[in-house]
Subunit: 138 residues, 2 copies
């Protein structure tokens, strides 16, 4: 069984999905990610799907589950790198990835996580870039 690696970069866990998600792979990824969130105390998860040609309902559900599990563990999830064609197909299929935040690429995803973290903890870090206008797209 193939396994998707979870990379830690600072306060963020990065997952680059490149292989077809089958049941076992998806379950394993959910488990690995949850364990890494607990072990590292990371508050952000970025999932890059720029290698995926197709995002079907199963992958969509997997992403939603990962986001929910992460949220329960106090980590926020951003899905990045979606191809334009994938976005179009998703909407045509009636899948709008509700509850999942998205960004264009990894860097913008990191920015988004930093911003929402700064908003969540206004006392500790005094980041001056807390822009309330740029919140999540539903």
């Amino acid at each position: 069984m193939e396994r998707v690696p979870v990379l830690k970069i600072g306060d963020i866990l990065l997952v680059s999905i490149q292989i077809d998600m089958e049941d076992q792979t998806a379950l394993q990824l959910q488990e690995d990610l949850a364990e890494r969130i607990v072990a590292t105390g990371c508050h952000g998860v970025i999932i890059d799907i720029s290698a995926l040609d197709i995002v079907d309902s199963f992958v969509g559900r997997t992403l939603a589950t990962i986001a929910s599990v992460s949220r329960v563990l106090d980590a926020e999830t951003v899905v990045v790198g979606m191809r334009p064609a994938v976005a179009i197909t998703l909407v045509e299929l009636g899948l709008s990835l509700q509850g999942i935040r998205t960004a264009l690429n990894v860097e913008l995803g990191i920015e988004m996580l930093a911003r929402s973290r700064a908003e969540a903890e206004p006392d500790d870090d005094d980041e001056d870039e807390a822009d309330p206008a740029a919140v999540s797209t539903p």
Copy 2:
């Protein structure tokens, strides 16, 4: 043909190899990486191989070629995440990945790149990296 995505994080390009490297995939990756180095002006490349069970002589040669091409383009390459069993097999096979720098994980790789960059450019250079203009999330 599958394609390995190249992710940009700050001044670093990150590649996570998860699929079996065949001739075409390896060539495509070399090409993509070289183009991204030129397009972004990044000075560091991190290749994560934590998903690989086996690193044979072909993969070893591919990594060496990538490192050489990057060096010519003024970017340094660090291979990270090698499994212990892979390291043992590599040495038993007589492949010692000469000319390739390694680190245990992505974070240590980033540190290594930052350190060697600081040594290479002792003068304070305040490069203003032009942020991509399109910050809007879709």
